[in-house]
Symmetry: D2
Subunit: 185 residues, 4 copies
Amino acid sequence: MVVSHPTDARPAPPLQVEHWLNTPRPISLQDLRGRVVALHAFQMLCPGCVAHGLPQAARMHEMFPASQLAVIGLHTVFEHHEVMQPRVALEAFIHEYRLAFPIGIDKPDPRGGGVPLTMQSLGLRGTPSLILLDKRGRIRLHHFGRSDDLSVGALIGQLIAEPDPDAAPGCDEDGCRLPDAMTTP
Amino acid sequence: MVVSHPTDARPAPPLQVEHWLNTPRPISLQDLRGRVVALHAFQMLCPGCVAHGLPQAARMHEMFPASQLAVIGLHTVFEHHEVMQPRVALEAFIHEYRLAFPIGIDKPDPRGGGVPLTMQSLGLRGTPSLILLDKRGRIRLHHFGRSDDLSVGALIGQLIAEPDPDAAPGCDEDGCRLPDAMTTP
Amino acid sequence: MVVSHPTDARPAPPLQVEHWLNTPRPISLQDLRGRVVALHAFQMLCPGCVAHGLPQAARMHEMFPASQLAVIGLHTVFEHHEVMQPRVALEAFIHEYRLAFPIGIDKPDPRGGGVPLTMQSLGLRGTPSLILLDKRGRIRLHHFGRSDDLSVGALIGQLIAEPDPDAAPGCDEDGCRLPDAMTTP
Amino acid sequence: MVVSHPTDARPAPPLQVEHWLNTPRPISLQDLRGRVVALHAFQMLCPGCVAHGLPQAARMHEMFPASQLAVIGLHTVFEHHEVMQPRVALEAFIHEYRLAFPIGIDKPDPRGGGVPLTMQSLGLRGTPSLILLDKRGRIRLHHFGRSDDLSVGALIGQLIAEPDPDAAPGCDEDGCRLPDAMTTP
């Protein structure tokens, strides 16, 4: 697992999504600032995604409060396009596997080539891939293949524990917040 | 598991297959007389098939000599037809999951209704289903859902041990055979 | 797995057991003629026995009718004798792991040396070991290490299907039996 | 899982250990201040400990740097004392299961009663139990039974991310430290 120190972490590029499922409106990473984001890139015919990646995503989605962690699937089809690209195929898959988190269909490259646009801009090596973003939207984990629950859990816990620099001290609908420097546990 | 005694077992109806994959020529149950047959009915978007049924079929195919057990897959699409029915979809699935045994696509019912013809004639309740045929082509196991390796293995072992009534005493390319009554171990 | 053809199989040597647990009276292999026997050799501090061998034995004991398969454990202590040899240790282990089949404690070698007597006479290489005996008491499987459910199930099924030469035609409490030559399914 | 907020967390009572294994010298919680501590209470004849608790402890020990997380086993024998209490029994168990982290034998209650002293002072309900201490030695998780890797990982990650109030700003052998208020990532 490639874990980045905050000072080295680069900001995640914007998602380029053709169509969103399991969400009433499109999602932008910008809107998720202040929360940790787990981005699961998968293909519906990828055995490792079906056996490991997607079940892990589903457990994350059940286990963490949405206010702390946003779980997002990204269908990055780079092979068997004619089978997996139709939206109806992914819809049937999501239905049968009871996936409940928002899933975006990565936008095909208009220049052709088979690798969709977000997959390119994130520099993914294949599926499954797990990307963790911190509260500032920086890429802190970039992992291809099966990832271990204990390690991934620890990194999510650490990212959740990091202060959110954009959460201004003061009061909002959540309550009244102390400046970070005063919240040392 | 519904296991039939030989005296109650009914002959399996013929397979009605639209197209065969992983085999150079169509397979008929008639041709498999003298061998035990494991027929795995599945759908590519059925989670229980992907997690349990197909891996069990693959292990059977690796573990038993083809001369003793014929493993056959049957793609019985009864939902999401538009996604799973195209042959190219099943071909991509077979490729990604590295399935090596012959797989037939069950023939759609020309009268409509969604349940394909072999699935109807076998009276399957859903997928995954495992049907075991004895050497005479009679249905000895008819099971819907996950099936236990130890139990299924025991039934296969028993069926393999049963004498083949059509293997006439005398000599052929395999060698020279005693009458069954003389082969008590 | 070393599977023996009936014509090569040697008879199992008698069990040499110091003490029996989970059975009201001592068990001799002679008394089990006519049934298939699964003999599981284990040690309570052997990780492979605890994780694989004993759970498999317990499933066999639940799954097959006692009239067809006798499941027997054999505690063959060849290391850490001071910890595992006391009967009270094995009793606590059997209680905590809810083992319900008969278990014999292999008799220590009075000449010393650490390897108990039945383990010697069976020529076991270590634990877990699984020995399958046919209805005549001959060793048909002699396996050290983890054994696969599907393979072991198939061999048990085959051994159960073999005719019992000592089951004389005629009537007893089970019913009235045809001669074997007339029972071809 | 009972997770405590820092403000409610009580300090862990001192370990009362009869004998330590896998460590050249006794361990006190006081010495571990500044590190997160995972305390795994187990019994060698407890099936849930052998199947889940101890493998989880071993993975934690492998996965996290010792400078961040201290993994400690506590053998809390409250049943079958005559079998599990002798130190030689635990030594054989540790050897066979290849456990590499420090393990303390909880001190028996001199007044009798069967429940050892640390188990009493920690208020454990049974085995396996997992206790997580933060860098100040306060109990932040108190869990009986199987615990999920993703959840436990997240809590460990959070505890590791919390600032260590005793790590005074300034220089030592690790390097030179900024005051916490200046280390917001």
